[in-house]
Subunit: 269 residues, 2 copies
């Protein structure tokens, strides 16, 4: 590990809950020598990556972050940050994958990717996603602003015989999503289509949207469901990372539980 990489990992110890850290404290957290840590902080400070609170001498993230984040945002718009993960997801699952973004009270399609594996495949052709009947919508209801639930029950349009049409039905579905970390729509929007989704987050620490897989129901087996879920987790982490967000710990925990990998954080890059 290069000394540069070591210096940079120091930055990862700053967070909203612990925004300012003293030298000795940071040494303990990072498990590194004090002189070394001090020099690393000096280097970071010279580049504006950290600065010292003049009053306490504690260190905090510096102003250069703001400038660089602006350039990053101008360089990689949101859609581009989702596309690679989406194609990987479609390829790995062999099913159609798509990403939705929540804007206000509406869930919009951002982009979509069809896997070429099968002659029969789901085609996602929506501008806006009904909250109560799609996997992405349920995901947003479960993890997004609470006010959305009222919006959803105000228009419980019945698309298929599986569409939830009562508040009780919808509450039950959303509760399941909350406990598993995955949105699931069993032919509730279109017959013969099974949807599975996972939430994605952005820099605001709020839910930003969902990533989902639409699967032809005839192919849907417990094995495929497990496979899709584990790929969804990878895609959701990737997109969230590109959008500057973090997956809430409780959702990571729910995923780990649902996938029966009690301690799974096997891919963080």
């Amino acid at each position: 590990m290069s000394s540069t990489a070591k210096a940079l990992t120091l930055l990862s110890h700053f967070s909203a809950t612990q925004p300012e850290i003293g030298l000795s404290q940071l040494c303990r957290i990072a498990g590194r020598d004090k002189a070394t840590t001090y020099r690393h902080l000096q280097a970071l400070e010279s580049a504006g990556f950290v600065e010292q609170n003049p009053a306490t001498k504690h260190y905090r993230l510096g102003p250069a972050m703001m400038q660089l984040a602006q350039v990053r945002e101008a360089t990689v718009p949101r859609k581009d940050g989702a596309k690679p993960a989406l194609t990987a997801l479609a390829d790995a699952t062999g099913e159609t994958a798509h990403v939705t973004v929540l804007s206000g009270q509406t869930l919009y399609a951002l982009c979509e990717c069809e896997a070429p594996h099968h002659g029969i495949r789901a085609v996602v052709d929506l501008n806006t996603f009904p909250l109560h009947a799609t996997a992405s919508g349920l995901c947003v209801l479960a993890f997004g602003p609470a006010t959305l639930f009222d919006v959803a029950i105000a228009s419980l349009e019945e698309f298929t015989e599986n569409t939830p049409t009562t508040e009780a039905d919808l509450t039950a579905l959303v509760d399941t999503v909350r406990s598993t970390g995955f949105g699931r729509a069993n032919q509730s929007y279109e017959a013969e289509i099974q949807g599975l989704s996972a939430p994605v987050y952005d820099h605001s620490s709020q839910l930003a949207g969902a990533v989902a897989v639409a699967c032809v129901a005839a192919r849907f087996t417990p094995d495929l469901e497990q496979a899709i879920k584990s790929e969804l987790v990878i895609a959701a982490r990737d997109i969230t990372r590109n959008w500057g967000g973090v997956i809430p710990a409780q959702i990571e925990a729910a995923w780990a539980d649902a996938l029966s990998y009690p301690n799974a954080v096997e891919r963080t890059s």
Copy 2:
């Protein structure tokens, strides 16, 4: 200079106008060896500070910037406090407005706002602002720590034929800023760009940075200068207020004098 500092300065070469840079190109820009630059980029990539465009192999700023900027903003919420005033300033003047923050001996760009009024407008695309050649820099020299003046005269790079290149020239400019309360850069950094700035303060009662307007020189008239100055005062007061600071009485007095509104404190919201 530590290798970490060298690696970090690579990041400053990325900008909105040049968001992606190839290895060889970056070596030329940074004036460093290719192997070294490559390893530095590897270290930066491992921390998510840069990433490679898979298609072109060119490097660009990475997703980690977004997360860190989020934490920084949560720690020192400056950008949110500056943005409304900045858009109002850009809108009222019809020119490009920006805010800079002083950290240590370096003046960083915090955010920028372009007015849509004109087809031709200034584009601020800087990571750090030279102290001697920009309106914001002169403002900081005039009202910030005295030690900055030594830093400034240590590197009097000549950007245009109007750039001050002697200590005497710079002293004269800074004295003018002190007596008027406004930083002014008449095409001293870029030809055809007139800069005007005002200091902003934070809770520490120290100078925190500057708010500035970059104006296309061809449009610059005495009337516009007066208009920009009075808008700058409004913006500087607003930002200072949001950052928990107070404008020193002597600067308020200088402003009132310069604007020929002897008792002007007519808008403080």
